[in-house]
């Protein structure tokens, strides 16, 4: 939790949520954490994609964060591709942190910059918005 507290910007985020199998029970939907780091791995999988990134702490220590993301079919609707996130890419994202205070978060349609650019197209339909999974 200390890592997240020192790194993150908390914002009240009034999200209505009918999330993926228990997403609302695992992540704090009232908080948003901004993480900046380097991609170590991206899993493009059903029913959940997952992003892992190294985030440098103020102490100089590097901590690996795990981020739950939408399924490929929903990410495609939002304009993402399976190659959008590659090892070594610089990423910045807003995630809901885990309620347990671990270095985990959820980014279901959240703000995500890859090497400074937003790869999403704001796709409509099935993938639109949060909690549609």
């Amino acid at each position: 939790m200390q890592h997240i507290r020192t790194l993150c910007v908390f914002t009240v985020f009034a999200a209505s949520l009918a999330a993926h199998h228990g997403t609302a029970a695992s992540y704090d939907q009232t908080k948003v954490v901004t993480l900046k780091g380097t991609v170590t791995e991206f899993m493009w999988r059903n029913p959940h994609s997952a992003l892992f990134l190294d985030v440098k702490q103020p102490s100089g220590e590097t901590v690996n964060y795990s981020i739950e993301m939408f399924s490929p079919s929903l990410m495609v609707k939002q304009g993402y591709t399976r190659t959008v996130l590659k090892k070594g890419d610089a990423v910045e994202l807003d995630a809901h942190p885990s309620l347990a205070g671990t270095t985990s978060g959820e980014c279901l349609g959240c703000r995500l910059l890859v090497n400074g650019k937003d790869p999403s197209t704001g796709g409509q339909g099935r993938g639109k918005g949060k909690g549609k999974q």
């Binding site: 228990g22 029970a25 695992s26 899993m43 059903n46 029913p47 399924s71 079919s73 347990a100």
Partner: protein, 241 residues
């Protein structure tokens, strides 16, 4: 002339148009808003459980709904990529396709990429299904005017009826009533007759399904190997485990 009129009248049923449900559909509204502890994701009246039914319901620890806990601390069968089963599939917002043929209506589900036969060839609803129970049950349908009435039995009770952990017994009898409420909208109401679980037949709120336009039914398979990795690297850490 009278004979002709009588003959025409007798033949009318043969020319009656069966509603056409063909096409791809995705879940719209209906149900899911209640915060009552024993409520179902299907909406409708909060079920009145028998002691046996309540014990089974309480033993289910879902990651969603009024009783939600972090999935890593629950026992959702889907957490290990078991089949969702028929009714959980019908309440979840993943598309499916209806295909109507002579003798059966088929549902092709994106979730788990499975199909379901609904026999409309006039066969009776069996008393039992020798090889059952099945995760997707055994279904016989008949047209009642504009409504497709489906009777289903022999559903494997290890499946949950929804994501909120609603339970049923393997002796449960399910009745779905599907009808079109617009060119691009279907409505379905589910009734469950399961004396082992509910003190009286329970009926859901009407569920709506909208025509899926400009998209195809895709594939959504929960592969055990993926779910295992997800549990180890995402779901468990998120719960501090």
């Amino acid at each position: 002339m009278l004979r002709l009129a009588i003959a025409f009248a007798l033949c009318l049923p043969a020319f009656a148009q069966t509603p056409d449900f063909s096409g791809s559909w995705t879940k719209g509204g209906g149900g899911g808003a209640s915060t009552a502890k024993n409520a179902t994701q299907w909406g409708g009246e909060v079920p009145s459980y028998t002691p046996e039914g309540l014990a089974r319901f309480n033993s289910n620890k879902p990651g969603k709904g009024p009783r939600q806990i972090p999935p890593a601390n629950g026992n959702d069968p889907m957490g290990e990529a078991n089949p969702p089963g028929l009714y959980r599939t019908l309440i979840y917002n993943r598309p499916f396709e209806f295909v109507q043929t002579n003798g059966k209506v088929v549902q092709l589900f994106e979730w788990a990429k499975v199909w379901r036969n609904i026999w409309t060839d006039g066969r009776p609803v069996p008393e039992d299904v020798a090889a059952g129970p099945y995760w997707y049950g055994y279904s016989v349908g008949k047209w009642d005017g504009d409504t497709l009435v489906i009777e289903t039995l022999s559903v494997d009770d290890r499946a949950w009826m929804d994501e909120w952990g609603t339970s049923f017994s393997s002796d449960a009898k399910f009745t779905e009533r599907w009808k079109k409420t617009g060119a691009d909208r279907l409505e379905m109401t589910l009734t469950v007759n399961d004396p082992a679980t509910f003190t009286k037949p329970w009926t859901s709120a009407p569920q709506t399904y909208n025509r899926l336009k400009g998209e195809e039914v895709l594939e959504m398979i929960f592969a055990p190997m993926d779910e295992k990795i997800f549990n180890q690297r995402i779901r468990n850490p998120a719960a501090g485990k």
